[in-house]
């Protein structure tokens, strides 16, 4: 009975393939929430509140229109991008586009600066022979184990008022770091991200740079190239895959971060809030803006999803490499 080839046998085999059903079950459960968010982001406030996303076909009972409507939640005209119009506009508390810019202001420098600084350090650890190299490297990597929370509050205090040190036994206070008035602005977040990215970035890039063939670097050195030009002309171009992997990982990490933003920007104006903070605040006053959450969350997830689908290979590699990030 099992080996027959008739149509009924084939259907039976498909139906009785329990593992396949289990797998597709997982896939469906995993997809429904995102799909629901995406579909609901195009539905009006009333429709979102009164029927599930699977009834989107019922929305077709009204006229379709593209572009932003003049009156919102109009009963008989169906504006496809109504929610996006509200969410992206400037005059709303939701102002997602403003926060997209703020997120970029955080994520872009938080990606570039650590890459540069960490690749210098990684090169030094890999190819410059100096005293105490190994213990210093091990200490650096060991710093991976410090969770964000441990350093967050003292950092915030430093950004709030600079760092001052009262010399022991005297009443003299030295200013070690002046008060640059960083808290409440993107640079406080960038500097925090940079510091926290450092151990992992150095670890990752060092492992990659150290695996480059030694003869190559030696021959460049013999040819009279100093460390700077060896680094710039040889090691850096060869490390592009590792750097790309880290860059994607770091960009998504900083774009999706909420904890650092909420601590560092609490004292700032809503204009500087990144997308995650904006969405979290929007979710905080549930009810009135519930229908905007869908479009807002989709805008927030749009950039990572573009990265995900266009750079999947590097994204995966970054994640694989990022598996030790603390």
């Amino acid at each position: 009975m099992k080996n027959g080839n008739s149509l009924i046998d084939r259907i039976y085999r498909k139906l009785s393939n329990v593992p396949m059903w289990a797998m597709w079950g997982i896939v469906v459960v995993w997809t429904i929430p995102s799909l629901s968010l995406f579909i609901n982001s195009f539905r009006s406030r009333t429709r979102q509140r009164t029927s599930g996303f699977w009834e989107f076909a019922a929305d077709a009972d009204r006229d379709y229109k593209l572009g932003c409507p003049e009156a919102y939640d109009a009963p008989d005209i169906f504006h496809l991008i109504e929610n996006y119009c509200v969410v992206l506009s400037n005059d709303q508390a939701s102002g997602m586009l403003t926060s997209v810019i703020s997120s970029l202001a955080i994520a872009v420098p938080s990606t570039i600066i650590p890459i540069a600084i960490a690749s210098f350090a990684a090169y030094a650890f890999a190819w410059i022979d100096f005293k105490g190299r190994k213990p210093l490297f091990i200490t650096t990597v060991a710093l991976l184990s410090i969770p964000l929370q441990v350093a967050l509050i003292p950092l915030l205090r430093m950004y709030l008022g600079g760092a001052h040190w009262t010399v022991w036994g005297t009443d003299r206070t030295l200013t070690l770091v002046p008060d640059f008035d960083l808290a409440g602005g993107p640079w406080a977040v960038v500097l925090t991200h940079t510091g926290f990215a450092m151990p992992f970035a150095i670890f990752l890039l060092h492992n990659y740079m150290a695996s480059l063939p030694g003869e190559l670097i030696e021959s460049a050195r013999v040819d009279g190239a100093d460390h700077f030009s060896t680094f710039m002309r040889l090691v850096l171009p060869l490390s592009v895959p590792a750097i790309a992997a880290f860059a994607i990982f770091q960009f998504l990490w900083t774009w999706n971060d909420y904890l650092i933003a909420v601590v560092m920007l609490n004292s700032g104006t809503p204009e500087v809030f990144p997308t995650t903070q904006r969405i979290a605040n929007l979710a905080g006053d549930f009810g009135e803006t519930e229908h905007l959450l869908t479009a807002g969350a989709f805008v927030q997830a749009f950039v990572p999803l573009v990265v995900f689908f266009s750079l999947q290979r590097y994204f995966v590699r970054g994640l694989l490499a990022g598996s030790v990030k603390g």
């Binding site: 289990a22 599930g52 400037n90 184990s145 700077f228 999706n256 030790v324």
Partner: protein, 739 residues
């Protein structure tokens, strides 16, 4: 969609060249450019173009300046090999500028070119210039507003730049001279400039900083420290630099004797000048000391200097942003709520003994709900563990007719599920943030890894649909935890039962309830719908029973079918009893839908629904890594197992699983660390209400809401204690794998 796993499996192959990266760079460039244009267009639409521009400009400026500093430093060191004195001049100029700038920045020295001057003669008959604006204003009897503004400290004020510029000039000359060919010049000029700088600093120092130093103290401490350093370098065999070390030590000693031993603020200008001149002159002497550099020395210098340049930025960030704050947190965890008094371990004691951290009331049944022995979970978990042992025993009995245990995947699986359920029983009666954190770590780690493993194994059979399935499961990984929480919050939210449910879980639950009440009062589902479903379930049950019977007869494996049998059988019985799904019977006997308030109502199991959000995110990660590992298992091993007649599940449990076990370890520890710090999900989903607080959210509450820095720091240290061992283990393993 591109292949996730294949690419990670073949990752190593194209890592080498970096050429692949630019292969389809054109398309990516196009996408990125159009996105950028879209952003610019949209920003212009809402009048944010100016902000976009200023942000971009700032980023470019910061990156550009940093790059220029780095390249400049390297250029400087490159000069050392070509022209030693040019290098020395540049380095001296920079150091001089920074040194004088720092003095001025800390307002230690007055304006170099004072706007108004008073000549004063002190008790000892020494005349000096008063240039402290405040004092000048007082002496003149007129408070000049501009000068007073300086006195209260605006950053850029008169005299800010004269000092650094003077420092640069002096440094340039001194530095150039240290590299000069003539030994006399080499010695005399830097020493002279040291004298001059010392006099300049000493004469212009603010009153509050003038030390009441005695020459004797300065000389004694200079000799002591110089001798000490010389002795140390003698002992360590560095005899060629003996004099330099001695001079350096003497300079440091003179600083200590002149500035740290005496009181500040009571000295006369003479003592100040002496205290400033001696160390700087010694320093000048040290750098001017004739010391010939050969090629080896230059190479060693180059290495050292490059190491400093390449490492300095990273180490600066590491120390300022990580090490120092972490140490400060450790210190504040021993101080009171305002970080003023030392309180020892009080914060930790307060934390550990509080019911918010660990709540044992349910354990003993004090709060009137259930305790560990009245919890259904305890008994189900216990039963499953016993059943697992029973299965292991019976396997051995049926196969060999001997008494004893022989574990099979079935018995192990049953026992593991039993342990899992039992752990849930424990976590549901021991409440508090600490227990919650551990519960999160336990559930999410095991759940995500198990589901990821299942997906990795099962998707292999999906053929051409494999990559679609995997990409869909992997996608949540790209979504932020905040976004994921919002997504699931909308799914979990129950709606008024008079209308429709908009979230999938509640909609399904209510529909099940309606199905089991089909045909009764107040129900729209026709009676036959329930019978139809019962019929289908009955047919599946019969079919499963038949397979189990067959497998039993042929000594085959029937574990999967048994699990299915239990699940389907449960559904069948519950539907037959009309007790499946969300409904409630009203007083008049009619039924009405009932929803589940996932976030609030079902404490403490609402935690599990939050945990599921993180499982939803992390499963894709586990799947991708495990899938790559499974594909890397040598085909010959599986082939050999097949020839030996191993079934598919035996191949997996006896060949594949042992091979990928190290990778499973990596996945487990990685997720464990991520979960221990979970913050976003709890914060956005419940705000820590309804008994869902974990350590990371409690930390924020304690620090920002209750403003108790002591306990807040103690919580942070707790997280460190939980996370650090796992991470150290992980890094150790990776380091070992690398080498």
């Amino acid at each position: 969609m591109t292949a996730v796993a294949e690419e990670s499996a073949t990752d190593e192959n194209d890592d080498g060249g970096g050429r692949r990266f630019s292969l389809d760079g054109g398309v990516r460039g196009l996408v990125l450019t159009s996105l950028l244009l879209l952003l610019i267009y949209a920003s212009a639409q809402i009048g944010q173009l100016g902000r976009l521009y200023s942000i971009s400009w700032k980023i470019v400026a910061v990156v550009g300046v940093s790059a220029a500093v780095f390249v400049g430093a390297n250029f400087l060191v490159s000069q050392a090999r070509r022209d030693w004195s040019l290098y020395r001049a540049l380095a001296g100029g920079i150091l001089g500028g920074i040194g004088f700038g720092a003095l001025r920045g800390n307002r230690s020295v007055g304006t170099l070119v004072a706007d108004s001057e008073f000549l004063l003669t002190d008790d000892e008959g020494v005349t000096f210039v008063v240039d402290n604006p405040e004092l000048v204003a007082i002496l003149e009897g007129v408070a000049d507003p501009e000068l007073l503004e300086y006195a209260t400290g605006s950053f850029l004020s008169i005299g800010t730049f004269e000092w650094p510029i003077l420092g640069i000039v002096l440094g340039l000359i001194a530095g150039y001279a240290t590299g000069h060919a003539n030994r006399i010049v080499r010695l005399a000029v830097p020493t002279g400039i040291g004298l001059l700088s010392g006099w300049l600093i000493g004469a212009n120092l603010q009153f509050a900083n003038r030390p009441d130093a005695s020459i004797l103290t300065i000389i004694i401490s200079a000799i002591v420290l110089g001798g000490l350093l010389a002795g140390v370098s003698y002992l360590f065999g560095k005899r060629d630099v003996l004099v330099e070390r001695a001079l350096l030590g003497a300079a440091v000693g003179a600083v200590i004797g002149g500035w740290f031993v005496p009181d500040l603020g009571t000295g006369s200008s003479t003592t100040t000048i002496i205290a400033a001149v001696i160390p700087l002159a010694l320093l000048g002497l040290r750098f001017g000391w004739p010391h010939d550099r050969d090629a080896n020395g230059l190479a060693a210098f180059d290495r050292r200097a490059r190491a400093v340049i390449f490492l300095a930025p990273a180490l600066t960030f590491l120390s300022i942003n990580l090490v120092v704050p972490a140490i400060r947190t450790i210190i504040t965890s021993f101080l009171d709520r305002d970080s003023e008094e030392f309180v020892g371990l009080d914060n930790y004691e307060e934390l550990v003994t509080s019911e918010r951290f660990l709540d044992w009331r349910s354990w003993s049944g004090d709060d009137g709900t259930w305790n560990i022995f009245t919890s259904q979970l305890t008994w189900v978990g216990g039963f499953l563990i016993v059943a697992g042992i029973g299965i292991a025993y019976s396997i051995n009995w049926t196969r060999n007719r001997t008494r004893g245990l022989e574990h099979s995947p079935t018995s192990r699986g049953t026992m593991l599920v039993g342990v899992f359920v039992l752990a849930f029983a424990f976590f549901s009666v021991i409440r508090g943030t600490f227990s919650n954190t551990i519960w999160w770590m336990f559930t999410v780690t095991i759940g995500a890894t198990a589901l990821g493993l299942a997906m990795a194994v099962l998707s292999q059979r999906a053929g051409r649909w494999e990559n679609v399935a995997k990409s869909l499961v992997f996608m949540p990984m790209a979504i932020s935890m905040v976004g994921a929480s919002v997504i699931w919050r909308l799914q979990y939210a129950p709606k008024n039962i008079s209308g429709e449910q908009t979230g999938a879980p509640n909609a399904a639950w209510v529909a099940l309830g309606k199905l089991s009440q089909a045909g009764l009062d107040g129900n729209t589902y026709p009676a036959w719908s329930r019978w139809l479903v019962l019929l289908v379930l009955g047919a599946i049950l019969a079919r499963l029973g038949f397979s189990i019977y067959n497998a039993w007869k042929n000594n085959g494996s029937f574990a999967g079918a048994s699990v299915m049998l239990i699940v389907v059988g449960y559904l069948f019985v519950e539907l037959l009893r009309r007790s499946l799904g969300g409904f409630e019977i009203l007083d008049d006997g009619s039924s009405q839908a009932q929803t589940v308030a996932f976030r609030e109502a079902v404490q403490p199991f609402n935690n599990v629904y939050l945990m599921f959000i993180l499982i939803w995110i992390q499963t894709g990660f586990a799947m991708v890594i495990l899938s790559a590992a499974i594909k890397a298992v040598p085909e010959e091993l599986l082939e050999a197992a097949r020839i030996d007649g191993a079934s598919e599940s035996e191949q997996f449990f006896n060949v594949t699983l042992p091979q990928i076990l190290p990778t499973v370890g990596v996945v487990l520890t990685t997720i464990l660390v991520a979960v221990a710090k979970v913050f976003d999900i709890v914060r956005v989903s419940t705000g820590g209400n309804f008994g869902t607080n974990v350590l990371a959210t409690d930390f924020i509450d304690e620090s920002f809401q209750f403003l108790n820095r002591g306990v807040g720091s103690a919580i942070a240290i707790m997280i460190l204690v939980i996370v650090a061992p796992v991470l150290v283990f992980n890094v150790y393993n990776m380091q070992r794998a690398e080498s």
